[in-house]
């Protein structure tokens, strides 16, 4: 606090002011959640602690470790192959291997469990082949595999960017010193790319810890199940808040230890970028790499899409397309507006943070939302908005509005909640780009007498353009898939594609949920394709 006041006095410009206002707004619901941890432990919390907490913790740790390791291996290896080698369909893989990210994990869970179920397509194909083998994937290993198949693109995207830009010089230097590509990879690139891998993996980690739908369906009790069980089954929100606070502290503990062990090494790079020269693969190596990419793409994208198409064939005649059109417009509208706001806010905060190092601790708190379960954030945001509404009653009356909960029943509450939850996605992207370009360009501009704002628009903004674009796309995908916040905070009669999917899936009408699912995937895939074209 003292630190904050000091920095306030010493450099209060418009950027800092905006940052402080935004930060306080974003922190307030998170702060409310953390208040829960200070409350005395109650009987229900004791019950959870004594009976099931150990199992929840054990499962969570196993899943988190498994998924982290597998996504790191998949993401790094795939990104390496499509970046440095030339083989058939390389360009296609380079883009399409991002697409699994567009399939929400809860939908992926339903798809895979159905395919392997007694009536599912895999069992049918196997029995037609005369093989009477039934594979049960509804267990912790199934969870790890499905998560890994659909979350590895977080690592893949970041590593691809990293190999193409940041490490280009090193790859080429190592090669000119006579090292082969595999040697370069293990001896030079892998050790250097730790920061990039960690930033990809930590997004995966937070997604995994937050996921509810898939683990609950697979019957694997994790920490997030515990949070919901405390609230929705035992009716005790306090214990739920306490558990989520523990979860967040746990995540930040890990990330903190990691960043400490990394020390203060900094790599800023030249921003000139010619595309990396690729090496043509021949013979069996070419076949191996191609097959590997193809298998991953098959399981993480093509097969699930085929399954969805099959369900669509079963259900398309009975679908309310008129409603769907309205829902589609809703989804698209709110998502675009929210993306615009989230990316803008993240640029403002990230730009201030890199210039005002003494405010950096705020950045850590502001990004916590991504690791807090959506439903819990919803409670924090709702509390704040209702408080605001109650204090603005006079204003509403003078405007002739006879309602009292104006803000909290509007789209604003939803957009704000998205901001709290997804700021980290955009922020980490923008921030790492800022780190890459460093501050030397900025300082040069400042020594010519330009202010922060002018420098930002003339110098910084053009340089971070790719990151702005990719942030927009990533946030777009996240919001399109988002569920708990939308369910709890939406205004009356407001449906998104995700809530439509959830409504059917929840009702065990998986075939009917395929059409909105495909639209979500289609929308996000278009976003990814635009993103990949711009990247060039």
């Amino acid at each position: 606090m003292v630190k904050l006041l000091k920095s306030l006095r010493s450099n209060l410009d418009s950027w800092s002011t905006m940052t402080i206002v935004l930060t306080l707004a974003i922190i307030s619901p998170i702060f409310l959640i953390f208040k829960g941890i200070l409350l005395p432990s109650n009987e229900i919390f004791e019950h959870i602690k004594n009976t099931v907490l150990n199992e929840y913790l054990y499962n969570t740790v196993i899943i988190a470790m498994g998924v982290t390791i597998i996504t790191a291996i998949l993401g790094v290896s795939l990104a390496w192959f499509v970046s440095v080698y030339e083989f058939p369909c390389r360009r296609l893989f380079s883009i399409s291997l991002i697409l699994p990210l567009t399939i929400p994990s809860y939908i992926a869970g339903y798809i895979y469990s159905d395919m392997f179920s007694f009536t599912g397509s895999i069992s049918r194909i196997l029995s037609k082949l005369g093989i009477n083998l039934r594979i049960d994937i509804l267990n912790i290993y199934g969870v790890i595999i499905v998560f890994s198949l659909f979350f590895y693109p977080y690592v893949f995207i970041i590593m691809k960017g990293y190999f193409n830009k940041s490490s280009k010089n090193m790859i080429e230097a190592s090669r000119s010193l006579g090292k082969t590509l595999p040697e370069t990879f293990f001896k030079v690139i892998l050790p250097l790319s730790r920061v990039a891998i960690i930033s990809g993996v930590s997004l995966v980690l937070m997604e995994v810890l937050n996921a509810y739908g898939l683990v609950s369906y697979f019957g694997v009790n994790t920490f997030s199940i515990g949070i919901f069980r405390a609230w929705l089954s035992l009716g005790d929100l306090t214990s739920a808040l306490k558990l989520s606070a523990i979860l967040v502290i746990f995540i930040f503990g890990i990330l903190y230890i990691e960043s400490k062990s990394r020390g203060h090494k900094k790599y800023t790079i030249s921003t000139k970028s010619k595309p990396l020269k690729t090496i043509k693969l021949k013979g069996y190596k070419c076949i191996v790499v191609f097959t590997y990419c193809m298998i991953i793409l098959l399981f993480s994208f093509i097969i699930p899409i085929l399954q969805l198409l099959y369900w669509t064939k079963l259900s398309y005649l009975h679908f309310d397309y008129f409603e769907l059109l309205g829902v589609f417009k809703n989804s698209l509208g709110i998502t675009v507006v929210a993306c615009f706001i989230i990316v803008t806010v993240s640029i403002i905060i990230a730009n201030t943070m890199r210039l005002k190092k003494d405010m950096i601790f705020l950045a850590k708190i502001v990004n916590m939302g991504y690791s807090i379960p959506g439903a819990v954030i919803a409670v924090g945001v709702m509390t704040i908005f209702i408080f605001l509404d109650q204090n603005l009653k006079g204003v509403y009356t003078s405007l002739g509005i006879d309602k009292s909960l104006v803000l909290s029943s509007s789209y604003l509450i939803l957009i704000f909640a998205y901001l709290v939850r997804f700021l980290a996605v955009s922020y980490s992207n923008i921030d790492s780009n800022f780190k890459k370009i460093g501050t030397k360009f900025h300082q040069v501009s400042r020594t010519f007498g330009f202010g922060i704002t002018r420098t930002f628009f003339k110098v910084d903004l053009p340089m971070i353009k790719p990151a702005i674009f990719s942030s927009f796309i990533l946030v777009f995908i996240e919001i399109t898939k988002e569920l708990p916040l939308t369910l709890i905070l939406r205004p009356f009669n407001f449906n998104t594609l995700a809530t439509l999917v959830q409504q059917y899936a929840n009702d065990e009408m998986i075939q009917e949920s395929s059409i909105p699912s495909l639209i979500i995937i289609g929308m996000c895939s278009i976003a990814v394709l635009i993103f990949s074209r711009k990247e060039k």
Binding site: R134, F218, Q390, L399, I401, V406
Partner: protein
């Protein structure tokens, strides 16, 4: 200036002017409800506005909003949640001639805070060609050693299981209920997973022999758009339990008028409509649930299963013992 602000509010989706409307918070997520709402709007000209989320999330929302809540009607898929809302002072009692006429006495709150909309039975399903279920007459019989490794049931996070155990706690006492839950865990064919349909599929595929599931999912299987699911439905037979004593466990979905409802008259009209013959037909035909209005008969598919005696337990007890039930589940290791 004022105009500009109002315009902004409009853009943000804030409607500032009251109309003939009813605002509902609902946990029910069925297509049947959509159709029912459309019919009601057409008939009366009253607009129904809907927010859908989980029961406890909506309860929290109502609590936080307090007097200012826009919600008029709170609808759940479980009587226990209605009890919870009633206990928290979020509902108000309502009595009208039509409601008393429409809703069977045992399917409403005794203090008139909520009314049932539909009810479902938690039944067992088995394959009569493989399993002889004649020795299972009571839910308690499933605890028998004989069924070791044969029972299929979903997770205890599921509300329907919680209500089932709550009813056993009320009827047999806490100690017996704990013993029962423990034996069921020992008798399980596999660790609980999937949804109700998956338990039925588990029987047909031979993972286990007896599936505990809700009656209407059986109707859904039989009318599924996936021909393989229909096959599963056809292979199974269902059995109602406790027919010689208290009756098969049922749970009601229901609705109550919120304490601070601003469109109470219209909300009551909608509640009356949902429980009327016309409304009940929609629930019964489209969702294979049992109607609370005795003038309406269940759908053809449901009728084929025959009549059954339902447990007449005051459904508020499902809420009273909900927490206890979850704790027992945790203690005995029912995941």
């Amino acid at each position: 200036m004022k105009k500009i602000i109002l315009l902004c509010l409009f853009v943000l989706g804030i409607s500032a002017f009251a109309k003939e409307e009813v605002n509902i918070y609902t946990e029910r997520h069925y297509d049947a409800d959509k159709i029912l709402i459309k019919n009601f709007e057409k008939e009366t000209g009253i607009k129904i506005n809907v927010v859908k989320a989980k029961g406890d999330e909506l309860i929290k929302k109502l609590e936080l909003e307090g007097k200012d809540t826009p919600a008029d009607l709170f609808i759940t898929a479980d009587a226990g949640k209605l009890y919870r809302a009633k206990e928290k002072g979020l509902l108000q009692p309502v009595v009208t001639e039509k409601l008393s006429e429409n809703v069977k006495e045992t399917l409403k709150d005794k203090d008139d805070f909520w009314y049932g909309l539909t009810y479902r039975a938690r039944i067992i399903a088995y394959d009569p060609t493989k399993t002889d279920a004649s020795s299972i007459n009571k839910i308690e019989d499933l605890a028998d050693d004989k069924w070791k490794g044969k029972i299929l049931v979903r997770s205890s996070s599921n509300l329907y299981n919680q209500s089932l155990l709550a009813s056993i706690i009320k009827n047999d006492g806490e100690e017996e209920a704990t013993k029962w839950a423990k034996s069921i865990v020992e008798n399980m064919a596999r660790s609980p997973k999937g949804n109700d349909r998956d338990q039925a599929k588990g029987v047909v595929s031979g993972v286990g022999e007896i599936a505990i599931m809700n009656s209407y999912y059986m109707g859904r299987l039989l009318t599924s758009k996936d021909p393989y699911e229909v096959k599963v439905g056809k292979a199974l037979k269902i059995k109602f339990l406790n027919q010689e004593d208290r009756g098969n466990h049922i749970n009601a979905s229901g609705a109550g008028i919120t304490k601070y409802s601003k469109n109470k008259e219209n909300a009551i009209k909608f509640l009356e409509y949902m429980t009327s013959v016309e409304g009940q037909k929609v629930f019964a035909e489209l969702n294979y649930e049992y109607p609370v209005n005795e003038k309406v008969s269940p759908s053809e598919i449901v009728k084929k299963w025959g009549d059954f005696k339902a447990d007449n337990l005051d459904l508020n007890y499902l809420g009273v013992y909900n927490e206890k039930a979850v704790k027992i589940f945790d203690e005995v290791g029912w995941k």
